[in-house]
């Protein structure tokens, strides 16, 4: 796609029908948790869009985020997303390597200085360059250089957003997040280990369509991270009735009761897994019988055992939560704030857990 043509013109040239485009806009609106009334607005904006340049930097990471993204929906819809942007630099996906790859990055930066979107996955190690360098440039130096010319930065994955697993205690590499180093650019955090692929593409489309999305206090787009897993969990009626599975194979587990006592971090985890789900909307961990690990929250790896119930019991939510009938929305904002406050105190009180402790608990 030529950079001076609009997306609408390019799609038409390629014989992509208007109906296909409308379908793309409808499923994208759904993915972005936008009301269906926004579908025509998305269509009108995307159609007129000229292709923005995207530079993607990967630092201390496992490539899981890129794996996740490249499995986003069908190839065709993903193509449409990639047609919307010009991915000028991405170590793993680009064909060029070595100095040619670095040259592509420099060229994209020069041509679009001040206007490109910088996507980062992975955390950034401390001063010792030995931990991670690209083409002899330390991760930190590369981030600072590329960030300087970016219009905005998207931190994909818990590592880029919060430091993630590399930052887990004792943080041998001195890993930090993007927002620890960059203070003068808008940063959108898309945490998750990995993030839901549809959320990565959804945020990119949202960004291209409406500009910087509404962010919560951790820099996450409210459209995807506005509700906790618990707010949207289909096991919630059991939680409200106080019906819990006590082990992974008891009667409660077989009846699909709430996994809170098995360590579910759903009440303190903000993400879209319960509605957007995984693998093309097939299911999500809780639906498969496993408690939520809380992978999209800061320092999830150090917040005690995955299988230990949140140490501070949540309030008697059954009495305060209200299912708002028709639209099935849950009045969860105030509840969310109180749970977030509790999470902070829970994290503080968490002690280290060993495998022996786990055995004793089970």
């Amino acid at each position: 796609m030529s950079k001076d043509k609009t997306l609408g013109e390019t799609l038409q040239e390629r014989g992509v029908s208007r109906r296909s485009f409308l379908k793309f806009c409808a499923t994208t609106a759904s993915m972005m948790a936008l009301p269906p009334a926004m579908i025509p607005v998305i269509a009108a904006t995307l159609e007129k869009l000229r292709r923005p340049s995207v530079i993607w930097l990967s630092f201390q990471e496992c490539t899981g985020c890129t794996e996740s993204l490249t499995r986003s929906h069908s190839a065709t819809i993903e193509d449409l997303i990639f047609d919307t942007i010009s991915l000028d630099y991405h170590h793993t996906l680009q064909a060029a390597s070595g100095s040619a790859a670095e040259h592509a990055r420099e060229e994209a930066m020069q041509e679009n200085y001040g206007n490109y979107i910088l996507v980062v996955d992975g955390s950034i190690p401390g001063e010792n360059n030995g931990y991670s360098t690209i083409a002899g440039i330390s991760n930190k130096a590369m981030l600072l250089e590329v960030a300087a010319g970016a219009a905005a930065i998207v931190a994909v994955g818990s590592c880029a957003a919060f430091g993630g697993i590399p930052k887990a205690d004792p943080n041998p590499t001195g890993a930090v997040s993007v927002s620890d180093l960059i203070k003068d650019k808008p940063i959108v955090n898309i945490p998750g280990c990995p993030p839901i692929p549809a959320v990565i593409t959804g945020v990119l489309v949202q960004f291209l369509t409406f500009g910087l999305p509404e962010l919560d206090q951790l820099g996450r787009p409210a459209a995807f991270y506005g509700n906790s897993i618990h707010d949207r969990c289909y096991r919630r009626p059991f939680y409200d009735k106080g019906l819990f599975a006590d082990s992974f194979d008891d009667e409660g587990a077989k009846k699909g009761w709430c996994l809170f006592k098995l360590g579910c971090k759903g009440p303190t985890t903000y993400n879209a897994c319960a509605t957007t789900k995984w693998n093309d909307g097939t299911s999500f961990p809780i639906e498969a019988g496993h408690p939520c690990l809380g992978c999209s929250e800061p320092d999830f790896w150090d917040a005690g055992s995955f299988y230990k119930a949140l140490s501070t019991p949540t309030e008697d939510i059954g009495k305060t939560a209200v299912y708002a009938g028709a639209a099935g929305l849950i009045a969860g904002a105030a509840l969310g704030a109180s749970l977030r406050a509790r999470k902070q105190s829970a994290v503080k009180n968490h002690e280290r857990v060993t495998i022996d402790d786990l055995d004793q608990e089970s």
């Binding site: 109906r19 379908k23 759904s30 929906h73 069908s74 096991r235 009626p237 055992s305």
Partner: protein, 142 residues
């Protein structure tokens, strides 16, 4: 915390049977209200089924209750889409699939004809061009 900490029985955990969310009946009432509004004011309405928490099995039960009416169209647009008029006229169920036939979106629309079913001006223009090209090619050959 290591992966070894994971109880072995997690892996064998059986698929849970689903507790109902209680969202099904309110959803049917939303459809009822929308139908009344359409009749009184001609106002169209769209419900995104992905935005509503439904337990496994609940969506099937909703589809069962809505049933199938007189129209069943399949579109071939970057993966198929099914446009079905339910047994309640003007209540349409629209299911979008990707090319692997996985569902990527499901909507209920309350309207006379869903917009996506209509021919679109841009496509009509492109089609007209194709027809004109075909005719002029035929004339040149003749």
């Amino acid at each position: 915390m290591t992966a070894n900490g994971m109880p072995a029985s997690t892996i064998a955990s059986s698929a849970p049977c689903a507790p109902p969310t209680g969202n099904l009946v309110p959803l049917l009432h939303e459809i009822r209200h929308a139908l009344t509004r359409w009749l009184e004011q001609g106002e169209e309405h769209v419900i995104d089924l992905r935005s509503i928490p439904l337990a496994p099995g609940e969506e099937d039960s909703l589809l069962e209750q809505l049933g199938e009416g007189e129209v069943n169209a399949r579109l071939s647009i970057t993966g198929p889409s099914d446009i079905i008029e339910t047994r309640y006229p003007a209540v349409w169920l629209i299911t979008h699939y990707n090319e692997n036939e996985s569902i990527i979106g499901r909507f209920i629309e309350i309207c006379e004809v869903p917009g996506i079913l209509k021919s679109q001006a841009d496509d009509i223009r492109a089609g007209l061009e194709r027809l004109e090209d075909q005719l002029s090619n035929a004339e040149t050959r003749a």
